[in-house]
Symmetry: C2
Subunit: 248 residues, 2 copies
DNA sequence: AGAATTAATTGATTTAGATCAAACCCATTT
DNA sequence: AAATGGGTTTGATCTAAATCAATTAATTCT
């Protein structure tokens, strides 16, 4: 739709172009277009639609969700700049998730057939697509949305910690996290009740781990937050460092 | 290690060779070897080992598990004939899971570097590897090990139903499932306590859904089993069909 | 700006499944 | 055949987080 340049994109080092030389990036740019600006609530792809393109987020945040056969909604993921989505639809040939803009979003779009053809001519691109697919697979195997034995506290602290490190990996330095999604979205994503999210955020604030102003979360004590992710039974009155790790 | 033939393998239609013509299957066979027989408890790959090969199960069953930083074990998956493992290690360059034989197992082994090179010369193979990666990704996104809002009953019935349909897709016709893994393994895999597995299997038997003799499970009523996967609140005294689906 | 609507919080109660504790059942081994 | 030791089952109790029920705070709309 618009002229596209991967060479000048701030996300090129964590996105598709990683590992490509200048000439090959040029070939990639030819099959990538930059989308018009999407606004809050806009759907980028819809669950069930025929698969055609894979997307990379250039700026803003998206959420992916689906409704199962029983009509239950599952919010699977939130995508940050430099992250791809749509790769899980290659096999099924239909998108499994609706992807929606949570704020003002700009995307890169590429036709997967063209990408596949380019991959067979550019080995380093084929390698990078294998790498990105494998990384997504590894992440969903090793860090699934929730580990069944995780407490609500572990899930929420893990969620905040994960978001913060992804932002930092993208060059952000601030300890402020603007969460454009609702508490209900966070709750659904983590498999918890919205009430539980409310109560936990309040407790995290009382324990001086975070500071909340509506949807703006400031990480006050990153070390304490990280220890919460791993510690099983954290009593409200005991600091995490005082707890001996219980090895099952 | 041993001579290998994909052309004569019963699993070729659901494994890597799918979509390849005769000549290309011949090229694939050159980089695949068939392993010596592995026995119960043998490790095929170990968590943390340098990634080198991807594997396909030719016969028997394996389990994949890992220990997280806190020392907690997670049993991630059980692999049936025709299924690949190791693809999630491409990016990390180390295996994230130990894969262990649950009974007598024969495997196909291929060096991933060689497979990658072959993919850039055989477009239909590249396509199939993308498809298999995408399918695994889709499955782990859409059917994660457990959905947080699933009851223990849904998880276990889903597990049995999933195993049965995978066996049937592989040409088995029997309603008998030999589960070579322990109750503890099933429990860990589903994020439940072994006691819960015991109690549920007993109840399933009392409701004439299955029949159990140690580790041999016979599916007596497949329809009822399937309905259990989807129904939320199944009272012991009410049959699933009597319950109105609750749409959240 | 004020009304209407939706999102978020707070408190009381309930419950599914974990945990604890003990018995039992197989399969080996001696 | 008795003994050892996992794996499995069964029962009693406990608890984290859901659900139910209001209330309060933010948005959005007119």
């Amino acid at each position: 739709m618009y002229d596209h340049s991967c060479s000048n994109c701030a996300m090129s080092e964590i996105c598709l172009p990683l590992g490509l030389d200048k000439a090959d990036i040029g070939r990639l740019e030819k099959i990538v277009t930059t989308s018009a600006v999407r606004h809050t609530g806009d759907n980028i792809v819809r669950q069930g639609d025929a698969f055609q393109n894979v997307y990379a987020v250039k700026s803003g945040m998206t959420k992916s969700y689906r409704f199962d056969d029983a009509g239950t909604e599952y919010i699977h993921s939130f995508h940050l700049p430099g992250e791809l989505f749509g790769l899980d639809a290659i096999y099924a040939k239909r998108y499994g998730f609706t992807v929606e803009a949570l704020d003002t979003v700009v995307l890169c779009e590429m036709n997967f057939e063209e990408l596949q053809v380019l991959c067979s001519h550019v080995p380093s691109l084929q390698r990078q697509v294998f790498n990105l697919l494998s990384r997504d697979l590894y992440n969903s195997h090793v860090n699934p949305i929730e580990h069944f034995d995780q407490t609500a506290e572990q899930k929420l602290s893990g969620f905040l910690h994960n978001l913060l490190s992804r932002f930092h990996a993208r060059g952000h330095v601030s300890m402020e996290l603007h969460l454009p999604m609702s508490r209900r979205d966070i709750a659904n994503h983590l498999g918890l009740a919205p009430e539980t999210i409310s109560r936990l955020l309040k407790r995290f604030q009382q324990q001086n781990v975070i500071d909340i102003k509506n949807r703006l979360v400031t990480i006050v004590d990153q070390v304490k937050l990280e220890s919460m992710v791993h510690c099983h039974a954290l009593e409200a009155s005991i600091t995490p460092s005082e707890i001996t790790r219980s090895v099952k």
